[in-house]
Amino acid sequence: MTVVHPNLEDTEAKMSARDVSVFYGDKQAIDNVSIDIPTKYVTAFIGPSGCGKSTFLRTLNRMNDTIPSARVEGEILLDGDDIYRSKMDVVQLRARVGMVFQKPNPFPKSIYENIAYGPRIHGLAEGKQELDAIVETSLQRAGLWNEVKDRLDDSGTALSGGQQQRLCIARAIAVDPEVILMDEPCSALDPIATAKIEELIDELNGRYAIVIVTHSMQQAARVSQRTAFFHLGKMVEYGRTSDIFTNPLEERTKDYITGRYG
C-alpha cells in the first residue's frame, strides 16, 4: 500500500485521485492510486520505465480517452468535481488542465499561430489586439518572448528543440489553465535547454499547479516540492521532495533513489 508521509496536511488540493485504476484492454496499468495534487506546488512523479507514471498523468486531463482500449476506474476530482462524470465537458477540462509532451510538438504553423491556437478555439480573445496581448504575455511567461518577438511569423518547427518545448509551454499557458501536466518535458533536450525549462518551471510555480513526470531524480529534486514514487503501476510513496530523497520510508523507494534499479 501507498505510504504517505504524515506532514502534508498544510496543502490545499487542486486535484485529488481516489482509488484510480487504469486498464488497457485486460492489462492493468495503474493499481489503486490515491493522491492529492497541491495547488501551489510542483509535484514530481518518478519511477522506473513502464511504472505507469505517464499513464497516470494522462488520466488527469483524460488524454487516455484517445486510446480506445483504455478504461479508468475510481474518481479524479478537480476542485471537487469528478472529471470522469458523464456530464464533464472534456474540452473545458483540457482548457483547465493543460499538457506539455515529452517530444516538443509545435504545430507546423507560425509561432504566433501556435500560441493563438488555444485562445481561438476557446474564444478567449475579442479582436486582434487582445489576441496579440495574450500571445505576448504567454511568450513572456515562457521566457521565449525576447528570442522570437521579431519573427512571430516564422514556422514554430524552425525553432531549436529547447525553444520548441518552451513554445509548447507558452501554448499551454495561453489558455490560462489551472494545472499544467508535463510528461518528461526535457527528455529530448540537451542540458542547457533542460536548465532553461527547469528555470521556467520554477517561475511558473505558484501561478499554476504543475505536475511533472521525470526520469531524472536530480530534476525531480531540483524543481519539485512534492514527489510521488511509482513502481509497477502502484504509487509506493508520496511526500515532500526533501523527505523522499533524504528519508524515504519504503525500501523500494530507497533502492530506486540510490540507483539500485531503474
Binding site: V91, R94, F101, F107, P108, I121, A172, V175
Partner: protein
C-alpha cells in the same frame, strides 16, 4: 529457324557455359584450396553464362531488325524486281505477297507480278537466316571460350557479374523512360506536320471545332480547327465537375476513415473504396450513359428545361468524379495518417475537439499530400476517354451549361484517328496535335504533384 528457337539455343548454350565455368572453378578450388579462389564458383559460372547469352541475345535482336531489310534489298536487286511498278501501294503489296508465299504464310500467289519474286525471296531469306544462325552461334562460342579461359584462381568474377547485373537492371528501368521519350518524339513529329498545314494560333485559340476529313487536304479551313471548345470541355468535365464531386467526397471519406472509423470497419471500407479504381472505365461509361445521363435529362425536364440533351457534360463529369474518388481519398488518407500522432495529441490536449483538430491541424499539415492527390486525380480525369465517349457525345460545344453535350480532347483524338480521312489528312493529324497538348498538360500536372509530394516528405521525416 525462328527467333524463338535461336533464343532457346542461346539459353541452352548459356547453361552449358554455366556448368563448364563452374566445373573449371571447382577444379581450381580443389587443387589450390577453398581460400585460393577470389570468388565463389557459382560467380565464375554466371560470368561464363553471361558472356554467352548476352552477345547472342543482342545479336539476335539486332539481326531480327536488320535481316529483313537485307532480304528486301537483295530481292530488289534481283532481275525479277525490274518489272515492279516504281512506287506506291501496288509495289508494296506485290512484295508483301511474294514474301508471304516464300515464308509459307500464304499458300500460293494470286498476282502474276509476284510469282517471279517468290524465288528470290526464298533464296534471300534462306541465305540471311543461315548467316544469322552462324554468326549467333559463333558469338556464343567465342564469348564462352574467352570467358572460360579467363577463369583463374585470382579472377574477380564476382565484381564483374555484379556490375553486369547492375547494367541489366539499369537497362530495364530505362525502357520505361525511353518509351516515354519515344512517344514524345513521335507526337512532336506528327504535330509539326499538322502545324505545317494549320496555323498553331488558329488551333490553340480558335473557337470552332469541326474538322472535315472529306475536305481537300491541301487547303484545310483553319476556322474549323479551333481547339478551344475541346480544351474547355476537358477542363469543364474533368477538372471542374469531376473535382466538385471527387474532392469533397474523397477528402471526407479519408478523414472519416483515418479519424473516426473503427479499425475493423476501416479494414474493409478502405479496400472496397480502392476497388473503385479497378473498375474498367468502360463499365463506368455504361453507367453514365444508361443510368445517369437519362436521369439528369428527366430531372432537367422536370425542372422546366426545354429539350435537354440526352448526353450531358454533367453526367460524364459526375461519373468521372466518382471514378476518381479513390485517387483523392487514398492519397489524402495516407498523408493524414502520416501526420505525427504528437500533432493530434497536442491539439486535443489544448481542448480542441476532434473536428477542430482535423480542420485546423491535420488537414493543413497534410495539405501537400492532399494537393498532390488532387493533381494526380485531375491528370487522370482529363486523360479519361471512355466515360466521355459514352456519356458526353462528340459534339464540340463551347458552353458553360453542364446539361449540354460536350466533348473532350481525348474523345476527339479517338474520333479523328478512327475517322474517314487518310492518314496524312490534317483532320487525322490534328489528333496528334491534341495528344501533344494533352501530354504536355498531364506531364506538367504530374511534375508539380511529384514536387509537392517531395516537399511533403521532407517535412515529416
Amino acid at each position: 529457324m525462328s527467333v524463338t528457337i535461336l533464343l532457346l539455343l542461346a539459353l541452352g548454350l548459356g547453361l552449358a557455359g554455366w556448368l563448364a565455368g563452374r566445373a573449371r572453378a571447382w577444379s581450381f578450388r580443389r587443387s589450390a584450396g577453398a581460400g585460393a579462389l577470389a570468388a565463389l564458383p557459382s560467380y565464375h559460372a554466371w560470368y561464363v553464362a553471361l558472356w554467352i547469352v548476352v552477345p547472342m541475345v543482342v545479336f539476335i535482336a539486332a539481326w531480327s531488325v536488320i535481316g529483313p531489310q537485307l532480304v528486301s534489298q537483295h530481292v530488289l536487286a534481283s532481275p525479277a524486281a525490274a518489272d515492279l511498278p516504281a512506287f506506291g501501294f501496288k509495289r508494296e503489296s506485290l512484295l508483301a505477297e511474294a514474301r508471304a508465299v516464300a515464308t509459307g504464310a500464304a499458300p500460293a500467289v494470286f498476282n502474276d507480278g509476284a510469282r517471279a519474286l517468290v524465288e528470290p525471296y526464298r533464296e534471300a531469306i534462306g541465305r540471311y537466316q543461315t548467316i544469322g544462325i552462324v554468326v549467333a552461334l559463333l558469338l556464343g562460342f567465342l564469348g564462352g571460350a574467352w570467358s572460360f579461359l579467363r577463369i583463374k584462381p585470382d579472377f574477380t568474377a564476382r565484381t564483374r557479374v555484379e556490375r553486369t547485373v547492375m547494367v541489366i537492371l539499369l537497362l530495364a528501368s530505362l525502357v520505361a523512360i525511353l518509351t516515354t521519350l519515344g512517344i514524345f518524339v513521335s507526337l512532336v513529329f506528327e504535330t509539326v506536320r499538322f502545324f505545317g498545314m494549320v496555323n498553331p494560333i488558329d488551333f490553340l485559340f480558335g473557337l470552332h471545332w469541326g474538322p472535315d476529313p472529306m475536305a481537300n487536304p491541301d487547303n484545310p479551313d483553319p476556322s474549323r480547327y479551333g481547339a478551344i471548345p475541346l480544351f474547355w470541355g476537358t477542363i469543364f468535365i474533368g477538372a471542374i465537375i469531376a473535382m466538385i464531386v471527387a474532392i469533397p467526397l474523397g477528402l471526407m471519406s479519408a478523414i472519416y476513415l483515418t479519424q473516426y472509423a473503427d479499425p475493423r470497419l476501416r479494414s474493409w471500407v478502405k479496400p472496397a473504396l480502392e476497388i473503385l479504381a479497378g473498375v474498367p472505365t468502360v463499365v463506368y461509361g455504361y453507367f453514365a450513359a444508361l443510368t445517369v445521363a437519362p436521369f439528369i435529362r428527366d430531372l432537367a425536364l422536370a425542372l422546366g428545361a426545354s429539350n435537354p440533351s440526352s448526353e450531358s457534360a454533367l453526367a460524364a463529369g459526375l461519373v468521372m468524379g466518382v471514378m476518381i474518388i479513390p485517387f483523392v481519398s487514398s492519397m489524402a488518407d495516407d498523408s493524414i495518417a502520416a501526420v505525427p500522432q504528437a500533432m493530434r495529441d497536442g491539439s486535443l490536449a489544448m481542448g480542441a475537439t476532434t473536428s477542430e483538430t482535423i480542420r485546423r491541424v491535420l488537414v493543413p499539415a497534410a495539405l501537400p499530400g492532399i494537393v498532390a492527390g488532387v493533381m494526380l486525380a485531375i491528370s487522370r480525369a482529363i486523360g479519361e476517354t471512355m466515360i466521355v465517349v459514352m456519356a458526353a457525345s462528340t459534339a464540340a460545344n463551347l458552353s458553360a451549361n453542364p446539361l449540354e453535350a460536350m466533348t473532350t480532347v481525348t474523345v476527339q483524338i479517338v474520333a479523328m484517328l478512327t475517322g474517314e480521312g487518310s492518314f496524312d489528312h490534317p483532320a487525322t493529324l490534328s489528333a496528334f496535335a491534341l495528344g501533344f497538348v494533352l501530354f504536355l498538360v498531364t506531364l506538367g500536372l504530374n511534375f508539380v504533384a511529384l514536387r509537392v509530394v517531395k516537399r511533403f516528405r521532407e517535412a515529416y521525416e
